[in-house]
Symmetry: C2
Subunit: 265 residues, 2 copies
Amino acid sequence: MPTTPSPTSDLPEPDPRSAGSDSEAPAFSPLYQQIKTLILRSLQTGEWKPGDAIPSEFELAARYRVSQGTVRKAIDELATDNLLVRRQGKGTFVATHAEALTQYRFLRLLPDTGDLDGQGPAERRIIECRRQRASAEVARQLGGRTGDPVLQVKRVLSFSGAPAILEDIWLPGGAFKGLTLETLSDDTGPMYALFEARFGVRMVRAVEKIKAVGADADAARLLAVSEGQPLLSVERVAYTYNDVPMEWRRGLYRTDGRHYRNELS
Amino acid sequence: MPTTPSPTSDLPEPDPRSAGSDSEAPAFSPLYQQIKTLILRSLQTGEWKPGDAIPSEFELAARYRVSQGTVRKAIDELATDNLLVRRQGKGTFVATHAEALTQYRFLRLLPDTGDLDGQGPAERRIIECRRQRASAEVARQLGGRTGDPVLQVKRVLSFSGAPAILEDIWLPGGAFKGLTLETLSDDTGPMYALFEARFGVRMVRAVEKIKAVGADADAARLLAVSEGQPLLSVERVAYTYNDVPMEWRRGLYRTDGRHYRNELS
DNA sequence: CAGTGGTCTAGACCACACT
DNA sequence: GTGTGGTCTAGACCACTGC
């Protein structure tokens, strides 16, 4: 952490409270919301990277010229959104997929028996990894245009030797320059952790559409089931900061002996 | 709202701050957590019912002999858990399933096309409604004992005349005395709203296990699909306040033209 | 010990709803 | 206007971490 306090140029925004004139409709926004936006911007630009400690609440308060309590409220909300992690006595850190506790946070497939998590990390087998042009469908999901360069990865995940998940993954080519079959094969650990470490892309949020489908010939072969067997189809769009889509994937899950767990509230 | 301030007997707990003695390990718990527990208790006992306004923050502060800010923090957390709803200028209200915005909050089946919600309310057809003894499985899910009285409801939900969901629902008999086929048939609107209004049971949280299965003969007939067609199996345990299980249900969803939507974060 | 986040308070003022 | 929740501040003190 720098010991020198931030210069005032760190505060491009004028003090919103000075806009005390009774003008028209200034679209009131609470200070802490604005602070939240500023912190988000620093996350997005990579000023603070996943795993890093961000400046202390008092430092940020000085930098943004607000009280510590206001910074606190902003951080509170970012922490409940899982963008930041607070650790008492140590500091506040940028959340990451590279920690034991938050690993596989987006993988909801669990064994039916036993309350424990997913029987250790899965074995990965890459079926395909190639660069190509986005189809209309892929482009739409990734918020790009048909023909944009994209990277397709197809892989099978197995638990204790038994194939369980077949995934087709599309990534925007620009953000993942240099991602190759070797990069993926050499890596152990969650794919999203690799994305953070190598490409500075942190997945923050995802939306899934789930259906029951019958296995087609390809899926049946790769998942070692008979054609037509019911599989869970899980379509996911994953987003980085500020709701920018960065991945589209379709998974086919075998759910004999396993289930997709979801919590409603 | 009562105009008389609460007597001190409303505060059975001694002021936790007076425990200043350097005793062993007092299991430190923040004041606002304790307030949260007290509020939860009033929700559980029905002192404040779904839809009711709870006392203002200042009233509660006086009642619990803490500052308004501390009550606020307690309410904040209960509000983010969807147990309470804040409405600026009006008050804080006990959350309910009987409002347009929170209706069908636990029903995640949406049409594939169109971003709008579930094509209007579903048509309900009750197939079965009978009292019986809990099987070992049902008893385990409801936290009771084999042989306990339970109520089973079996029904089909249709959208625009097309059957989409087949549900088997088990409820603890004690809490739902007087629930009959007529009660269910006469009611329009969400089942969980009926539970609140008639039995004072508010569903707060639920856990679902999702699988892909093939339709059996019964399901095929009731959902108008061919036997073996892939269906989404959604097993749910729903809880009231304080994680008391109050419902176990298994749904079979047709997912041709619809999907189960889930958000990860 | 110093530095960090966590709790609690008290008071001022703003925004919104109702009457 | 009155009463509600919503924001912001300033300061005191507690709890945890690591030197």
